[in-house]
Symmetry: D3
Subunit: 242 residues, 6 copies
Amino acid sequence: MNATTKLKPETLEKLARVSTATLCTQLFKRGLRNVFIQGVVRLTDPSCGNLVGPAFTMRNIPAREDLDQISAFENPEHPQRKGIESVPPGHVLVIDCRGETRVASGGQILTTRLLVRGAAGLVSDGPVRDSGPIAEMDFPVYCAGGSAPLNLIHHHAIDLNVPIGCGGVAVYPGDIIVGDSEGVVVIPRHLADEVASDAAEQELIEVFVLERIKAGAALPGTYPPDAETRAAYAAWRKERGA
Amino acid sequence: MNATTKLKPETLEKLARVSTATLCTQLFKRGLRNVFIQGVVRLTDPSCGNLVGPAFTMRNIPAREDLDQISAFENPEHPQRKGIESVPPGHVLVIDCRGETRVASGGQILTTRLLVRGAAGLVSDGPVRDSGPIAEMDFPVYCAGGSAPLNLIHHHAIDLNVPIGCGGVAVYPGDIIVGDSEGVVVIPRHLADEVASDAAEQELIEVFVLERIKAGAALPGTYPPDAETRAAYAAWRKERGA
Amino acid sequence: MNATTKLKPETLEKLARVSTATLCTQLFKRGLRNVFIQGVVRLTDPSCGNLVGPAFTMRNIPAREDLDQISAFENPEHPQRKGIESVPPGHVLVIDCRGETRVASGGQILTTRLLVRGAAGLVSDGPVRDSGPIAEMDFPVYCAGGSAPLNLIHHHAIDLNVPIGCGGVAVYPGDIIVGDSEGVVVIPRHLADEVASDAAEQELIEVFVLERIKAGAALPGTYPPDAETRAAYAAWRKERGA
Amino acid sequence: MNATTKLKPETLEKLARVSTATLCTQLFKRGLRNVFIQGVVRLTDPSCGNLVGPAFTMRNIPAREDLDQISAFENPEHPQRKGIESVPPGHVLVIDCRGETRVASGGQILTTRLLVRGAAGLVSDGPVRDSGPIAEMDFPVYCAGGSAPLNLIHHHAIDLNVPIGCGGVAVYPGDIIVGDSEGVVVIPRHLADEVASDAAEQELIEVFVLERIKAGAALPGTYPPDAETRAAYAAWRKERGA
Amino acid sequence: MNATTKLKPETLEKLARVSTATLCTQLFKRGLRNVFIQGVVRLTDPSCGNLVGPAFTMRNIPAREDLDQISAFENPEHPQRKGIESVPPGHVLVIDCRGETRVASGGQILTTRLLVRGAAGLVSDGPVRDSGPIAEMDFPVYCAGGSAPLNLIHHHAIDLNVPIGCGGVAVYPGDIIVGDSEGVVVIPRHLADEVASDAAEQELIEVFVLERIKAGAALPGTYPPDAETRAAYAAWRKERGA
Amino acid sequence: MNATTKLKPETLEKLARVSTATLCTQLFKRGLRNVFIQGVVRLTDPSCGNLVGPAFTMRNIPAREDLDQISAFENPEHPQRKGIESVPPGHVLVIDCRGETRVASGGQILTTRLLVRGAAGLVSDGPVRDSGPIAEMDFPVYCAGGSAPLNLIHHHAIDLNVPIGCGGVAVYPGDIIVGDSEGVVVIPRHLADEVASDAAEQELIEVFVLERIKAGAALPGTYPPDAETRAAYAAWRKERGA
């Protein structure tokens, strides 16, 4: 399955309503243990709620002083700038900063351009600069906090839309990125449809389980649910028409 | 002195009113330098103010893929689940996650069960999942932030209520755990009574010192107080009937 | 140029109005890549906005148990206490804690004394204790978060106003310290005048660029600006009388 | 299967003749990815070659200054000393030091006692002291190098022969420990028989493959072997009577 | 200048006779501060002395459990295997392992194939497996030590001969790699000719300086040499006919 | 007691014959837990055996690109060069590199000058360059391994013979430095006489204990020795005339 394989029409919407915790459990059930981007937090509080969209990637290698001067940006083909102009609408720009936390991946102007172009969000395993103004934007930004030094000090953008690592996780172009207040999970594209369905199911039963726990039920038999709890859940669900 | 030795009736109440900074100073005066759990922050803003209570512990070792599958939770004797059902009311569940930050110690359902059962709080040197909903709970939770992957990926719960390390600090069952907005201190049980008294004393004099500093007093003679300042403090205290 | 060389009268005021990101770019253009203090966040939300002022430094070495007892503070010449009494008004106390995050650099009483004495702010690459009360102070404090254990556990204050490292950056007495919500930059004193001017210029053009980007302009030609954009900027600037 | 389940008589001998690399591959084929103890090197060059034997474990928690004084060793029931007196002949003492590298796990006298008692070897994820004299011993010792400070500074031995973590790997009492010049692998006891057989098979074919590669064969078809290479291997093996 | 630009015929030979320390100084004089691969040691003691040759690169991203099974190697186009079959004679295979030290980059069979194919050497910022047998090979291997787990556990080879990072340093295909007993330096290809010449010059004068220092000369005037020392050096050099 | 206080004439000689492990134990008995320099190994194998001598210190802060150019060394007052010319015969140069492992503290020429001037040895918590040739010198060198980049990339030498931190340990000028194959311990000068005596005593009894352990004695009663063992030791010692 490649990066442009069609997803079911409802998949992205379903994914927008489930937590990254649930998605990690669903992927764990399928043998995938390393899907949560480490070292990254949500910087903004976007009105859209969760971040959801396919990955468009950018790869950085370490900077070299003779190549990575301010003048490098005068080249309109500079991959960092070209990358931002290339992210398709609805896609998430995922940047591989090799976990380097001492300098920024980008700043307010580039993030604003992403927003204007209709990108779904930004994920970087490095920090951003202008983190104060960016934190006020209505746009999903996940990164390693804020840091004022510019990217050229340690990064050289080299490739667009190739498989990368981000926060220790493999990200292939077209993989489905989901972010909530906890962080960002990477769903291999060919699993997105089934994971979306099963995650929605899981969350429904966990709503029921949580109600029971709040009402005083003990864990054994309730979480995970035994036959009796499952029957009660089926009835509860029927009532709710869910 | 063992984990069930009686404390003075007023000790826990006194401890709830002093800061972890003061408690660290009191323990330092007694030769204890390593009592503050490292790498842990307060996730919630509980109405009870400080966390105070005796420790009930849970120990994790690294997971092994053949043992630590989702099905493991179907066993009602699974130590993670059993542990939560065993924490005595008023006790603090302290979890040894070996400082592993890549996966969660537990999530909203388990934390809710702890709350319902009357536990005093939760301390873990790993993150929690569902950190968004947990942050809204009226329950003291201290942990290494939020992380979506489930515990089974890196943890195998193995023991309950044995001595553990948490955030680099020894925690013996029954030790008194105190948490404020800064973090969590572990007080060896046999020192709790005297430390509580001396900490309350120390904080009273620091209120006085801080007033003086705010009013323009220089540090020498004021902090630490010399004989004159101590005399002024004695008078101030008498006035206040403290 | 030494620590007391006069700056232009408007320099500090200009620096108070620009971001640390802009200052890092200006210093990068001058060949300085390592000017942003790593591992430090703003703890308070001071009404003065940015922190600006010349550095007054304090140096710590590792503690030794026989020297670093509570009684050490009874000596009025103890460098930590003397340092706080020596910071000239308008200066920033910058503390070298060797990046040690396990214990505090200082607490509420010392910070209050700094404020009362008219210091411009506090920067430490270690945490502070009493971080809750300090966070409420109207005083710029940058540090590695909060931590309850006292400084004597790992620090011995040894020198005042000597060149130090802080967060991996060289800080010479008299260097100009600027902090915003993102962090703290160290400007070598002899560069402060020119960097202040150029930073103000850079921010003005970036206001214009950001407007254009918000209005839908693409990056090429806009950021960095080409001749056409520069002409439009000149006109815009003239209109604004800037 | 518990710690005393019988292994096939030839299993330990087979394991002594294969590399930890081969064993990691065999365990990976069975879904086990985390079996190699991280951060540990072989300190000695024992005449027995590889280390092989069932694990006997010791668990440490962080030290506490009031408990962990020199006088603690006067208690003959001190778990560190008792542990060394309890390791059954042919077993490997595996010590959980929580990866703490600043102090030693033990020294020459304890290691000598282990040797005299007939232990198969010592594995610790902390350093040893007296690493110079120990390096000359004819006894397999794997550890995090040498470090002079004694264990009491950071460790309190608390448990014997319970499941532990060592170098990030789960170690259950009775698991089979194998060490070569590269490091130490932990084989879950119930897999030891089959892993030993398959590893021996794998190494035999790799001897053949390496011969071919040395003779100029290209990787494709040779490594991994295709049908033709497998046939040639079968013939080669028959010749050798292996 | 691209990866195939011709070097002067004597350049590689000159580089084989100078130390990486000297090369770092020469590159520092040209403004390049980040040219030494961090975290890598020489594993072998090759008869050829220093490693010298142009870089041929391999890039890894994090593994994903569904893709990175043992069966992956059956594909003759697997980039790790194809990469080894593609390294041109005289070139150095440089592998980007993202500094991951928990698993191997490769082992004895692959390294032997490199040797047979006439590669100049192997550099990886991860460990190798079979480090014992590899250490005996007459082939320059630089890596992060030895580690038994196979690459598939954490790596997915994805690209050949693209710019990469290795040990924190940018490596472009065709850059000149030089390794001595201290480690590995990366020389941008367009600087190789001049750096080789100047390094040879520098080492000659340092031979003279070291002789003087051994004979009792003080540092001032000798290192760096003043006019008088430079004159003595010129005479010494003339005598030697160098 | 200051840095020039006289030691007993036999103290240094006694210290040369005991291990750093024993010295750590003696200092632990006196309440000093942090005396072993972390992250440092012995690079050379000097004929003198252990390193012993009073500390002469050098302090580095982070480099700044405008100050730390190659030309800096032309100043004969450059503290790195001046420091080497100032170490008194018999003293140990101890360099504070802030644990920075990416660049060297110094190289072969400077180390040779130290040797010629009669210094007792070199200790640095950074690496050295020219580590290959230095490893062949008959001179005690302890450092964080070898690294080719020059000090100016990350260090600015700023102070001589002031209290410093090295490998996490406080070093005051005149403290007694002892190094063996395991590493380096720092003895506060005022404790050197008594620690030397007690360490010699401890090692003698440990020779006896080790003999007994080799002969099959169990730990209880032998290590630590009980009354009977102590009596046997007294006899053994008398026999030996020790």
